[in-house]
């Protein structure tokens, strides 16, 4: 049968109105979305640049190693900086084992049933509890009920519970990346479940677990609300240069709370100091995060399976 419709080659290869419009919309949307996404970088750069610019006059090595002076209107950051390190280390000692083993349980032991589902839901909800509610919990449970008083210990425990989901989530991901065949091979050799976990699963996922632990450090270092009423104090003078100047049953200063205090509660602070404090806090957190990201990227390049 012969059709009457004739399409000239020219018509065939030129754009029709509808495809032109399609292409235009496509390009407009692509550029629009690119702009939107690129705008994420603006606040990041702006914050780092602005804080650095304002902090430049006060930043020095000495700033980090002297105590705040003159009712926190001058001086450095030694006491708050050391306090933050104490809080992070103690909370890490608690949350790392619990978090890693919780993920081991969820990934290696738990069956697919309602109980596991509730456990997973609990992890999600623990991550969603507001930080100030964690603070209230810390006051109720650790400061009062357990009788720890306001201390580094109570504040660290509060931080540990708050950051637990971070470790659980990243450890679960690391464990899932270990191929099932590794475990099966080990079981077939007669290994028990714990032997398999210890000799095969954990060694093969240790670096992935580490990235999660590093993330926990960054989270814990930046938190303010959970430590405000559980162990961090506005001002406390300690010996400069002594790494063991704090006792974990006593209160400490913390970088995050110090930034809050000097920017809202203390009048006439020397100009650059709050900015300097913010820079040290942001730098600490971002460097720790960058380490975690670098480790992850490095791992991906040398993945064995």
């Amino acid at each position: 049968m012969h059709t009457d419709i004739q399409i000239s080659p020219q018509e065939m290869f030129t754009e029709t109105a509808i495809s032109r419009q399609k292409r235009r919309t496509e390009n407009v949307m692509r550029i629009f979305l690119l702009v939107i996404t690129s705008m994420m970088i603006i606040p990041l750069l702006l914050i780092i640049g602005y804080l650095l610019y304002k902090a430049l006059p006060v930043l020095s090595v000495e700033f980090l190693f002297t105590n705040p002076k003159d009712n926190m209107r001058a001086g450095g950051l030694w006491a708050p900086f050391l306090g933050t390190i104490y809080l992070v280390v103690v909370s890490l000692l608690v949350s790392a084992p619990i978090g890693v083993f919780a993920a081991v349980y969820l990934n290696e032991y738990a069956r697919e049933n309602w109980f596991t589902r509730i456990t997973n839901l609990a992890v999600v909800n623990l991550a969603g509890v507001p930080s100030i509610v964690h603070a209230l919990f810390g006051v109720g449970a650790f400061v009062l009920f357990a009788g720890l008083g306001e201390s580094i210990l109570a504040a660290s425990l509060t931080l540990a519970i708050m950051t637990l989901p971070v470790i659980i989530a990243s450890t679960t991901e690391a464990l899932k990346a270990v191929p099932m065949s590794f475990r099966e091979a080990c079981w077939n050799l007669g290994a028990t479940r714990w032997q398999t976990i210890r000799r095969i699963v954990l060694p093969n996922s240790i670096s992935g677990i580490l990235t999660g632990v590093i993330l926990q450090v960054s989270r814990a270092a930046g938190e303010t609300a959970p430590i405000m009423f559980t162990g961090a104090v506005f001002y406390k003078a300690i010996a400069e240069g002594n790494l063991f100047a704090y006792n974990i049953t006593e209160q400490c200063m913390a970088l995050s709370l110090h930034l809050f205090t000097i920017s809202t509660q203390v009048p006439d602070v020397t100009d650059g100091i709050p900015y300097g404090t913010a820079v040290v806090l942001v730098a600490t957190v971002l460097l720790v995060n960058a380490a975690s990201i670098a480790l992850r990227v490095y791992l991906r390049t040398r993945k064995k399976w």
């Binding site: 692509r30 919780a102 909800n125 623990l126 507001p130 930080s131 964690h134 109720g140 714990w194 957190v285």
Partner: protein, 301 residues
């Protein structure tokens, strides 16, 4: 992993039984902690909640005068309105950016650019809330005073922008997961019909991933509701029913943070702050639960 399930554990050495017990204990610790949080916060506030507190007044009155000598009032309505209005404002800013970035990163990006953007978003998520608060207090404060010619820049708008910046990373990462979860066959089918990439996104991916995107927005909102330091420092912190983005507000979280340090332990005011804590816990718990159900719903499909 069920192969070993039936194996008898009777002949395991003691150390192994002990370590398995420890692992199981850690596994259920999250449940214990969630219940523990509710229990201990409830325990501190329960006394006044059941005897003395006028719950109706607490939820509907705007008079928050906990320190008044002869006329103590515990009306949290303005605080609740403050929390929700700043959250809604933050979501109005964060949702277009968050979803737009998620779509771009998952559908329009080269793998290399994608990695770069994801790292930027991760770093954005890492900045502590007290630093956002400090930015609100300094940079954004000046900016709002200059741009809107306002007498003071510590307003709902300021807090909303800070909260938006804090919740964008969450929205991006969850929304991206949701888009990734849409099977590639959907995309291929649409492309085979001659759809451009934007048409694939608009006509196929968005409808297919709508539950996941909703969950992303919900979790972003939950983060905003629970955020403390940024809103404490950036919103002006005064009890007020907001009339627009440039009026100051006070939120539930900020009230606890500002007042808990100054109250007598066990007193009415102290217990009311814990009751606010219960309210916050309940709100975020419900929002998270809904988001979880929405996500689980997709997986079952």
């Amino acid at each position: 992993m069920n192969i070993l399930r039936k194996k008898s554990t009777a002949n395991l050495p003691f150390s192994e039984t002990a370590i398995e017990l420890f692992i199981r204990l850690c596994g259920i610790s999250s449940i214990l902690f969630v219940f523990g949080i509710f229990f201990f916060v409830f325990r501190e506030g329960a006394g006044f909640l059941f005897s003395g507190l006028d719950v109706k007044e607490f939820l509907t009155s705007v008079e928050w005068q906990p320190t008044s000598l002869n006329n103590k009032r515990y009306g949290a309505f303005a605080l609740i309105v403050g929390t929700f209005s700043v959250t809604v404002l933050a979501m109005c800013i964060a949702v277009p950016f968050g979803l737009g970035a998620a779509i771009f990163v998952s559908e329009f990006c080269s793998p290399r650019l994608r990695e770069t953007f994801k790292i930027i978003i991760e770093l954005l998520a890492a900045i502590p809330s007290v630093v956002w608060g400090f930015i609100g207090l300094t940079l954004m404060n000046q900016l709002i005073i200059t741009v809107f010619n306002a007498p003071i820049g510590l307003t709902m708008l300021n807090g909303g922008i800070m909260l938006a910046l804090m919740s964008v990373p969450i929205i991006v990462s969850i929304a991206e997961d949701a888009l990734k979860a849409v099977p590639d066959s959907y995309r291929e089918a649409a492309v085979a019909l001659g759809a451009t990439r934007w048409q694939v996104v608009y006509r196929v991916l968005l409808p297919a991933a709508k539950n996941g995107l909703l969950a992303a927005v919900l979790l972003g909102a939950a983060r905003s509701i629970g955020e403390t330091m940024a809103v404490l420092m950036a919103t002006g912190h005064s009890v007020n029913i907001p009339s627009g983005p440039l009026s100051w507000i006070r939120t539930l979280t900020a009230t606890i943070a500002a007042e808990l340090g100054e109250v007598a332990r066990g007193g009415e005011h102290y217990q009311v702050l814990f009751i606010i804590g219960i309210l916050l816990f309940t709100i975020t718990f419900i929002v998270n639960l809904i988001a979880d159900l929405v996500i689980k719903g997709i997986r079952q499909e």
